[in-house]
Structures are given as C-alpha cells and as structure tokens.
C-alpha cells in the first residue's frame, strides 16, 4: 500500500472521485464517472508527480446491474498498481470515451471489451468485433449470457445457445443474473 499516492490522488482529483479511495495489498483504486476518463487519464499520464506511463490492462466488467470499464496503470512514482474504475455505465447503452489518444495499444483492448460486453468507446476509430464473427449479435461475457451446459437453458428448452439477445423476451422464464457489489 502506498499512502502517499492516496494523498496525492485525493488532493488532485478530490471532487471528481465518486467513491472513497480504496487500498488493499499493492493496489490503489479510484472510481470516477465515465465522462471524466480522458481528463483523469491525461493528468495521470502527463503530470510528472504521477507519470503513469504504462497502461497495464483495460477490462470491461458487467456487475449484473451496471457496466464498468477498469484501467490498470503502472508508474515508477508509486509501488502500487493504480486501478481506475469508470463506474455507472448503463447496461442498455454503455458508453465511455476512448483512451486511444494516449495509448494507441488500448485500441484492441477496447475492441475486445466492445465485442464481449457491447461497451461503446467513443473516439476509437476501429471499434468492431475482434473475436466473434462479424454477423454475431450477442455479447458473451455479459451476465445474462448463459453457457449452453446450463441444462434448463439448453437448445431443448428452445434457447439458441450460441446466440442470445441480451434483452429478455416476454415469454422467457425469469433469469437469475449473478450480481456483485463490484
């Protein structure tokens, strides 16, 4: 844990953080609204007191109620991983600005998050499916996409298992979506 990083982040981004800064093991976590992502990332990348030059990972998350985009950054100035959680994206139309203007390498990671979760990254100039075929309709890593070996939702029960619409249809049995306070 790096308490100095926590202080610096709190004083720099005070009013923009949507939740208290959380620290555990070697990780520091901040939460921001999706609209603040480009500004916060640019500040962390450019200002020498932070100098988070390495984007270690970019992940989409479906918590069952909302969507998140999670960035992990690394810097020489801190012994912690910095985790930025862009929180509160709606599940119907998740949108977040792209960070490809800072890290061109985020382009494919954003494509992957789009492919798996349907998150639209505004400003990514190549946002198309990367793993699934181009005529594929569903978003497989969403929590309402069930795997075919769930017997109750098998093709025998009328479910086309390789393709599922993410809006539940009227006559469909109520689903239990896993939810987490992530």
């Amino acid at each position: 844990m790096d308490p100095a990083l926590k202080r610096r982040l709190a004083s720099r981004f005070g009013e923009r953080l949507t939740a208290p800064i959380h620290q555990r093991h070697d990780e520091t976590e901040i939460r921001i609204g999706p609209g603040d992502v480009p500004d916060v990332c640019r500040t962390l990348h450019d200002e020498p007191e932070f100098a988070f030059l390495v984007l270690a990972d970019l992940a989409g998350v479906d918590t069952g109620t909302t969507m998140q985009v999670v960035y992990h950054l690394w810097s020489e100035t801190s012994s912690d991983w910095l985790r930025i959680v862009a929180d509160g994206l709606t599940r119907d139309d998740p949108r977040v600005p792209s960070v490809t203007f800072l890290w061109k390498g985020a382009e494919w990671m954003e494509r992957e998050a789009y492919d798996m979760f349907g998150i639209t990254f505004e400003g990514n100039r190549d946002l198309r499916r990367i793993y699934m075929p181009p005529d594929y309709q569903s978003f497989p890593l969403r929590k309402d996409f069930f795997l075919p070996d769930d017997a109750a939702r098998s093709p025998g029960a009328g479910v086309r298992h390789m393709e599922q619409v993410h809006v539940p249809r009227a006559g469909r049995p109520a689903t239990t979506i896993r939810k987490a306070p992530a």
Binding site: E27, V54, G105, M109, A182
Partner: protein, 410 residues
C-alpha cells in the same frame, strides 16, 4: 419449415468476372462481404493505385498458430494490414467465471501453450490476494525455479522460430532439443510435458524429486556451452544478422504508446521488467540483471531474449542454492469462498506482462476473471511496424515480436 439462407446467398452477386470466378471456384475473398463498419475498415478496404489484397493465413506456417492477416500490398511492399483474430477463441474468461477457483487454473494453462506456467501464475496470485493467503517460501522458490525453466524453454523455441521465419531450418531443430530436455524435466516435476497445471492456490502441486533434480543437474552442467553453441549458428551468421539489423525499428515513445511490455520494450532501452519494477514472489531476494538494448530493431529483440536465457540460468542456480525446507502448500479449505473484493496480479513472462483481474462476489466461483496476455498487445504493434517492408521481412518483424495465438485469442 423455413430457415434463413446461408450468408453467402444473401449477397448481391458481383459484376466483376474475377470475383464471380473466385466464388465459383470457392476461392477465399479477402474483402469481407458486408459494408465497412468503421472508419478504419473503410480506409483499409479501399484500394489505391496499383495495390492489391492478399490473404496470409489462417494456415500459414509463419503465423505461429491460426491467424489471418489481410495484407494490402503494392508490388512486394506491404502498404497496410488488417489482422483477423478469433480462429482460436475459446472464451476462457467465461469458462473461468463458470468454474470454481481450483478449476479455473486448469483453464488458464492452455492460453499460451509454450509458457503455461506464466499463464497460471497471475491467476493463482490474484486468487491468493483475494483470500489473503501467502504461499510458504519453498513453494515460492519452486514457482520461480519452474517458471524460469519455462522461460528458457519459451525463448529457445522463439530463437528457432525466428530463424525458421527467415528461412533457416537448422536452429529450430536445436531449439526443439533444448525444449524437449526442459519439457521432460518439468514433466518429472509437474507430471505433464506441455500444460503443466503445477501451481495451486497457496502453493504448488509437487515437491522436488530425484528424477527432476538429476535431469536438471545433467542439463545445467552443459546448458551454457550447449546454448552458446546453438546461438553461434545465428549470432555469427552474416545473412541473419544483416537482415535483422535495422528492421522493424520501434522507438521508446511508440513502445509505451502501444502498451508493449517484456523483451519487446526492453529492446528499445526501457528497463521495464515487472520482476524488478513491481516485485512479487521471491525476486527481491534474487540477484539478476535486466538486459536491455537501445536499437529497438528485430536484432535487438532477438538479442535481449538471448541475454535473458543467461539471466534465467543464474536465477535457477540461486534458487537451487537458497531453497529453504518446509511445506509446499499453505493450509486452506477445499472449498474456497473469498470475501467480496477485487484483485489484480501481474507477472513478467517470456513475452511480457501476464496479468489477471479477478472480482469475487463471495461465492465459490470468480465473478469476473479478466486475463491480460502480452501476445494480444504485441500483435497489435505489427500494424505499425510492418508497413513499408517487403512481405518476407514483414514475417521476420512478426516473428521477432513473438506472439502466440493461443494467448492472443484467449
């Protein structure tokens, strides 16, 4: 009963007789049969004067797996390219979210079949963080020992492939000899030759045994001379060195912008090695150097890996000398239910940063399991490095980045 017509019949027939002939013969057309979806796709699939498309893959030997690259070429020069992924996609993240914590480790193995231990490690480390478990020191030493052997295995295969993509057939045979000896050794330790499945949450699966140690001692006694002799085939080869020098050069700013890690970023002169930059396991207790080069070309990427083999041998030596006695597993219940929380763990693999981000919701299955693989990120850089090179050199550029398609497609 009516069903939707197959995809091919929905298209409007082309007026171009060449396209009609291709379709009649069943020849694969590189241009996709639908309108462009993005700005970049529209730009790529518009041909300039004298340009043409050519498909490389999915079954091309130098794509190291099943990758299709649509090349836009002008004569023999690559103008632009569009990698098409997904031929090996297995949905490992989804499988892990539907398996319990112990089962997920087995799904992590086949991600990169050349460096399985490095795929297991971040997952296991993230689970341990969620559970607040620290593996006993002997287990940490065993992890470092086995994974450094795996790093040598991976790099000796890389050197062979690299030469193979440049047209040299001999080094791959020597690389395979090296790999086979280490694979047999690790089979004695872990029980399997390819997908080791050795790490457990809170420790490792098996302790040192006689067969492993005798094979290791046998190999270590001649490893340095043997590897040097193999490398002599390439390092003193005028054709190889002159062709690699100055090819596919990448500067430091681009490497950071492309999110590169591992030997590929160290070849540009940035000493970013997460064993030192963000220490984990017992690496703070071990003494080794981080080889870097300043040129950032294919030769630099090759030589950084060669130097890393020597550092790995040093680490293995120290592990064997310093390994403490004691248990190899922490005491844990069979059924793991970590408290709700999030954990991120990353290790330095032979290709770069392998990482896992895990969310727990208090049940016995991970709620979200994100796997970050360096091959995926590095393959992306092919798009910035290849344009302007000849097709044959483009293969060398790709080989020098060392992507493994199992990791790219997850």
């Amino acid at each position: 009963m009516t069903s939707a017509p197959p995809r091919g019949q929905q298209e409007v027939p082309s007026d171009d007789p060449r396209v009609q002939l291709d379709e009649a013969l069943g020849v694969f057309e590189p241009v996709p049969p639908y309108p462009p979806r993005t700005e970049r796709e529209a730009e790529f699939y518009t041909l300039g004067d004298g340009e043409m498309f050519i498909n490389m893959g999915p079954q091309h030997p130098s794509t190291h797996g099943v990758l299709r690259i649509v090349l836009k070429i002008d004569g023999e020069n690559v103008v632009d390219l569009d990698p098409v992924l997904g031929y090996l996609h297995r949905g490992v993240e989804k499988l892990c979210e539907n398996a319990d914590y112990h089962h997920s480790i087995a799904y992590l193995d086949p991600l990169e079949y050349i460096s399985s231990l490095f795929c297991e490690w971040p997952g296991v480390m993230a689970f341990e963080k969620l559970l607040d478990v620290t593996p006993p020191p002997r287990a940490e030493y065993l992890r470092v020992l086995s994974s450094e052997l795996n790093r040598i295995l991976s790099h000796s295969m890389f050197i062979g492939w690299m030469a193979l993509d440049l047209g040299g057939l001999t080094p791959i045979l020597y690389g395979l000899i090296e790999r086979d000896e280490i694979a047999e050794m690790l089979a004695a330790l872990t029980g399997q030759r390819l997908l080791f499945n050795y790490f457990r949450i809170g420790g490792v699966n098996g302790d040192l045994n006689h067969e492993f140690l005798s094979r290791l001692g046998d190999w270590m006694s001649r490893a340095t001379t043997q590897i040097d002799a193999n490398l002599g085939l390439l390092n003193e080869n005028e054709i190889f060195v002159r062709r690699m020098r100055g090819l596919g050069t990448m500067d430091q700013a681009t490497a950071l912008r492309m999110c590169m890690t591992g030997p590929n970023i160290r070849a540009t002169g940035i000493p970013l090695d997460f064993r030192r930059a963000h220490p984990y396991s017992v690496f703070p207790e071990l003494d080794f150097d981080i080889p870097t080069r300043d040129e950032g070309d294919c030769l630099a990427r090759y030589l950084v890996r060669v130097d890393e083999i020597k550092q790995s041998l040093r680490i293995i030596d120290q592990c064997l000398n310093q390994m403490p006695d004691g248990p190899i597993m922490a005491k844990l219940p069979r059924l793991l239910r970590p408290r709700p929380g999030r954990a991120y763990a990353a290790v330095e693999g032979p290709r770069g940063q392998y990482a896992a981000y895990v969310i727990s919701d208090g049940t016995d299955q991970p709620f979200r399991m994100r796997i970050h693989d360096p091959s995926f990120v590095h393959l992306q850089a092919v798009g910035t490095l290849m344009p302007g090179h000849l097709i044959a050199d483009a293969m060398a550029v790709m080989a020098s980045l060392d992507p493994i398609m199992g990791g790219v497609d997850k």
